[in-house]
């Protein structure tokens, strides 16, 4: 694989090599701000670092969701064929959670935390200048820096051009590797979306089960009030059911804290990756369309050889960046999926083991009683 001198990718870091980390970021402490125009939440972003490029070793700033959006779009602009981590969405349409409810804010906070840390762990993105400013600049510094970037109109223009050219360009000369990636991503995207739906269905079913179980135990307690001989057994069953009910609540929590967010992230990742592949195609398209345009003008080829050369470099860079990042992404994805699903299995194991222990101890208490009764009957 040719490595062009302008490529900065000579380091492949994986998530588990945390001892090499020199940048630690946390996102916490959501706070509500109310102005005349709007209400919004800011999050505290704390950075601890030993890197020389940073003036200080510790920073604490406040950022709102808009700021994260800005950072993401800056990174996408600077590195069109790198895989920028997903941001939590603006709104959750499913209606499970209200905007600005504690649950929503907490879910978002966790996702934002992950977003920044994934950037920090990325071999290239971690050194991005806008990223550094995001972590260190005070609110007014950030505002003024934001205004310096390419204007809204030019940004919009870029997007329009990108969309337009992706329709025609880059596909016919696309290297085999990227066609494979495309086809992989199409399938992956399908499957991850289905998995996401399945996981939500499971959560929903578990919750409905939990709701019914809440009512189930107390009926036995109620019944025990009318009985004498079997009152203890009934209360025992009631207590077991209540304990299993609590265990089921824990199981649900495990799903919502682990599996659901991860699957959701990879749904977003699949969209991001499709976008990255399109951008690569667009860059290739620029080169191809120039080459095609000049093919007819044989005499002026020399004049444009520099331009073509630059475009060819650009394509090579983009391809290499994407290839490396793709490999890295796949490794991480495998790791994430392995640990998430293993965690799901462990969650379920814990649930069944707890329930088993509860019922076994009830059973033991009942058979002890039976033995006691038998013994007392034998006595003269």
């Amino acid at each position: 694989m040719p490595i062009s001198p302008s490529s900065m990718i000579n380091q492949y870091k994986f998530e588990d090599e945390s001892e090499l980390r020199d940048l630690f970021i946390t996102v916490d402490d959501p706070e509500s701000h109310i102005t005349a125009i709007e209400t919004f939440i800011t999050y505290r972003v704390v950075t601890k670092t030993s890197r020389g490029e940073f003036d200080s070793s510790e920073y604490e700033v406040r950022r709102r969701y808009q700021d994260f959006l800005w950072l993401k779009s800056r990174l996408e602009e600077a590195h069109p064929t790198l895989i920028i981590p997903p941001l939590p969405e603006k709104f959750i349409m499913k209606g499970m959670v209200e905007r600005f409810s504690d649950e929503f804010i907490e879910t978002r906070r966790k996702a934002l935390h992950k977003f920044l840390n994934r950037i920090a762990d990325h071999p290239t993105l971690t050194f991005n200048e806008d990223f550094k400013i995001f972590l260190t600049a005070q609110a007014w510094e950030l505002s003024s820096h934001k205004k310096q970037g390419p204007g809204l109109l030019s940004r919009m223009g870029q997007t329009v051009r990108a969309v337009a050219s992706s329709v025609r360009g880059g596909v016919k000369n696309r290297p085999e590797m990227f066609t494979e990636m495309n086809s992989y991503m199409e399938t992956f995207s399908q499957k991850i979306n289905v998995l996401d739906k399945i996981a939500h269905r499971i959560y929903k079913e578990e919750r409905e089960y939990f709701n019914e179980m809440k009512e189930y135990g107390p009926i036995h307690t109620l019944w025990s009030a009318s009985e004498e001989d079997i009152a203890e057994s009934l209360k025992g069953v009631a207590s077991c059911i209540d304990k299993c009910c609590k265990a089921t609540e824990k199981r649900m929590a495990g799903l919502s804290e682990n599996l659901l967010p991860i699957l959701h992230e990879y749904v977003l990742y699949s969209e991001i990756l499709m976008g990255v592949l399109k951008r690569r195609d667009h860059i290739q398209g620029e080169l191809d369309s120039r080459v095609d345009a000049l093919a007819s003008k044989k005499t002026e080829k020399d004049l444009f050889s520099e331009e073509i050369g630059k475009l060819e470099d650009k394509v090579e860079c983009a391809n290499n960046a994407l290839k490396a990042d793709w490999d890295r992404w796949k490794q991480n994805m495998q790791c994430d999926m392995r640990s998430t699903f293993t965690n799901v299995a462990e969650n379920n194991l814990r649930y069944y083991e707890e329930c088993l222990a509860t019922w076994e101890s009830f059973l033991a208490s009942q058979t002890v009683e039976l033995h006691v009764e038998e013994d007392s009957e034998d006595k003269p």
Partner: protein, 402 residues
């Protein structure tokens, strides 16, 4: 005490068969017939097994038998029949009477009913019951010839009618209250259990969706493929396991249902006592008023205000001959009344004594059976947990290899 029938005879309801026939109004109908097999339990003799007798009965004949027993032995808590229609069903179970699972559970319920009757010290000796088990033809006529329908007190069926009884035996009042509570709490429990079963079914089945997605996903993965594929297989096993688990639980539900219906039988005995006591009190009241009337006519004084007294005052008194005749009639009635009251009292006391004896027997049986049912429920839960642990342990191994 004579050994109950259950010890002398093996009774099973071994088969169920769909039949078509014509009903009382000559319309075609489909029904299920059940095969009752009986065999005498001989003392152990090598290679000699008594022959099996068998006959077919349908549910309505079981009903007839039970009605006969309830009327003929009002002081006995008569075992209930399994439900006529499927009730407390959760969504997967059919509410259809012809559904094979329902028929199967009913077959077991009917067998249980026969065994209960056959092991009851009083009921097992009944000739009609014996004929039900052994005599194929003419049994219906035999039952009807006993004239039991005439003995049936229609008031017993009017569940909502209240009778103002002044001095019921407190134990029966408490027991009736208990039977109401038992009915209410078991119904509630069965309803919630059905909903819980429904939800549990949902949780397990939805995991089955993993199998196909994992399999399709594994097709595009090189390293993760095997782990995904085999994990998917375990998820399929998990999803399928719920069917057996819930079927077993259905038997537990049937055990509870039996006592739900037993509560009804218990209530009927309490009702019977109430009615007997009511009749007794009415008879005593009637006797007292007749005695009073007699006294008034004899002495000419009106001790207490009575409409009759007033009207006779208003509309003139009778002549002495008329009065004499009236007194004579009343005296005869009073004598009859006193004899009747005596026998009613005796009946009442006998009833209370024998009913309470059966109730004590029933209480012991109920406590034993329900405790066992609760234990069997715990055993089922334990088995379900163990299966879950096995599946998820396997799945975990597959996931960790991804």
């Amino acid at each position: 005490m004579e050994d109950c029938l259950a010890k002398k005879m093996e009774i099973t309801v071994s088969e169920a068969e769909k039949r078509t026939g014509r009903n009382a109004v000559n319309m075609q109908e489909t029904y299920t017939a059940y095969l009752i097999e009986t065999r005498a339990i001989e003392s152990q003799s090598e290679g000699q097994c008594a022959p099996v007798d068998s006959l077919w009965r349908r549910y309505s004949e079981f009903e007839l038998l039970r009605n006969y027993l309830s009327v003929t032995y009002p002081h006995i808590v008569v075992p209930p029949l399994p439900e006529k229609r499927a009730d407390f069903v959760w969504h997967k179970l059919s509410a259809d009477n012809m559904d094979p699972d329902f028929v199967e559970r009913r077959r077991i319920g009917l067998e249980n009913f026969l065994l209960r009757v056959a092991s009851h010290p009083v009921l097992c000796q009944d000739k009609i019951f014996y004929s039900f088990l052994t005599q194929e033809g003419g049994w219906k006529e035999m039952v009807n010839e006993t004239g039991f329908q005439l003995k049936a007190d229609s008031r017993l069926k009017a569940l909502n009618a209240t009778f103002r009884v002044k001095n019921p035996d407190k134990r029966f009042t408490e027991l009736k209250h208990y039977s109401d509570e038992l009915q209410s709490v078991i119904s509630h429990l069965l309803r919630v259990r059905a909903r819980v079963a429904d939800r549990l079914y949902g949780v397990y089945k939805v995991h089955g969706n993993y199998g196909r997605v994992f399999s399709e996903w594994s097709a595009i993965e090189k390293e993760m493929g095997d782990g995904l594929q085999s994990a998917g297989h375990h998820m399929d096993v998990y999803a399928a396991s719920i069917d057996d688990i819930l079927e077993e639980e259905e038997h537990y539900a049937d055990q509870l249902k039996e006592y739900l219906f037993y509560a009804e039988a218990l209530r009927a005995v309490c009702r019977k006592h109430e009615l007997m006591q009511y009749d007794l009190e009415m008879a005593a009241q009637d006797l007292t008023s007749k005695k009073q009337q007699c006294e008034e006519l004899a002495t000419g004084t009106v001790r207490t205000f009575s409409l009759k007294g007033m009207t006779s005052k208003l509309f003139g008194q009778e002549n002495p001959e008329q009065r004499e005749a009236k007194i004579k009639v009343l005296e005869e009635q009073i004598q009859e009344g006193e004899e009747q009251l005596k026998s009613k009292n005796l009946e009442g006391r006998d009833f209370v004594k024998s009913a309470w004896a059966d109730i004590e027997r029933f209480k012991e049986q109920k406590n034993h059976d329900l405790k066992e049912a609760l234990i069997s429920y715990a055993v089922m839960q334990i088995s379900m947990c163990k299966k879950g642990i096995q599946v998820w342990t396997n799945a975990k191994e597959c996931f960790s290899k991804m």
